[in-house]
Symmetry: C2
Subunit: 191 residues, 2 copies
């Protein structure tokens, strides 16, 4: 029985259920069935333990985003599916949802930091996809950093902000707006 692994499992559950602040090292130790001191032989402190959980989460998100890519499909649809999966994960996954709540309601530093890391990771991921797509000629040349930033912000707007004052949007609806605004553009020839 792998002690490090059971500590990770306990920490993931506890952070997911109670957030960063409300998770105590005593509790993690109890759930993991180890002495508290044992945790400190694998992780230097609470923050590093949390960081490891976040890194694991980031890897999981990335693999879920990759899993949805179909090489027989258009770049546009793959990009949409990846972004949608990533932001749905962020919205529905227990740990991410809890961290968003904690960051918003209590302003916990570590929660905010983790959220920022998630956002940076998504931008980095999208940036790679865009760079590859430009090289292959699927989309025209553009700054991948700015474009990834814009895409993420638009998806966040559609998936999170829109619901504040409207009925939630369907996945297909978001795809069609994505197509309409970013891929086709608004202008007529004259303007």
């Amino acid at each position: 029985m792998d002690k490090r692994q059971s500590i990770m499992n306990a920490a993931r559950d506890s952070f997911g259920m109670f957030g960063y602040k409300a998770t105590t090292m005593d509790q993690v130790a109890k759930i993991a069935n180890v002495g508290k001191g044992t945790i400190y032989t694998f992780f230097t402190n609470k923050e590093e333990l949390f960081q490891q959980i976040i890194l694991e989460l980031l890897r999981d998100m990335k693999s879920k985003a990759e899993a949805v890519i179909d090489d027989n499909e258009h770049f546009k649809l793959n990009l949409h599916n990846s972004l949608f999966v990533l932001l749905t994960y962020r919205k529905d996954h227990q740990l991410t949802a809890k961290l968003f709540q904690e960051a918003k309601e209590m302003g916990t530093k570590e929660a905010k930091q983790a959220i920022n890391e998630m956002e940076q990771a998504i931008i980095e991921y999208i940036k790679e996809k865009l760079t590859a797509a430009i090289k292959k000629g699927f989309i025209r040349k553009c700054d991948p950093e700015v474009t990834a930033f814009v895409l993420l912000k638009i998806y966040i707007s559609f998936i999170f902000d829109w619901e504040e004052n409207h009925q939630p949007l369907e996945k297909e609806q978001i795809l069609s707006y994505f197509d309409e605004y970013i891929f086709k553009g608004l202008a007529l020839s004259k303007c």
Copy 2:
């Protein structure tokens, strides 16, 4: 000397300097050189006084947005200038800046509400501009509500969020991204 007006002036200054919560009715009365009771002959309570200040602010924002429109220019440039003026106002104006700070740092209900009203007002304003532009054939047909929402979110992203991790963008830079992403679109013919 108009008592109502001097109360409004005092309230505007005080809300702008100290925010909603830290502004006391005693203070407003003192600055306005009236007895506290007098305030309650013009406004039913603190919240309504604040609401009147916000309504005045909204009218001011709208007139500043209108002032920047040039009928000899393209729709796109006018839209950009309006959005830029509105969000720069939101960023730099004493009262709006203070309210954003208060909403973020203290979560004051009234500040959040006021911010939401501002956002709704901007969307309403942009929606009207879009509806007119569609009717005149300047842009192709689209849902004005969703489009206004997307435009606002993108400008907020560029003017506020981008600065969190990057150098601020110039006004012209934002215009060119606006053009690039929304008006022209990303796609090549093939995808």
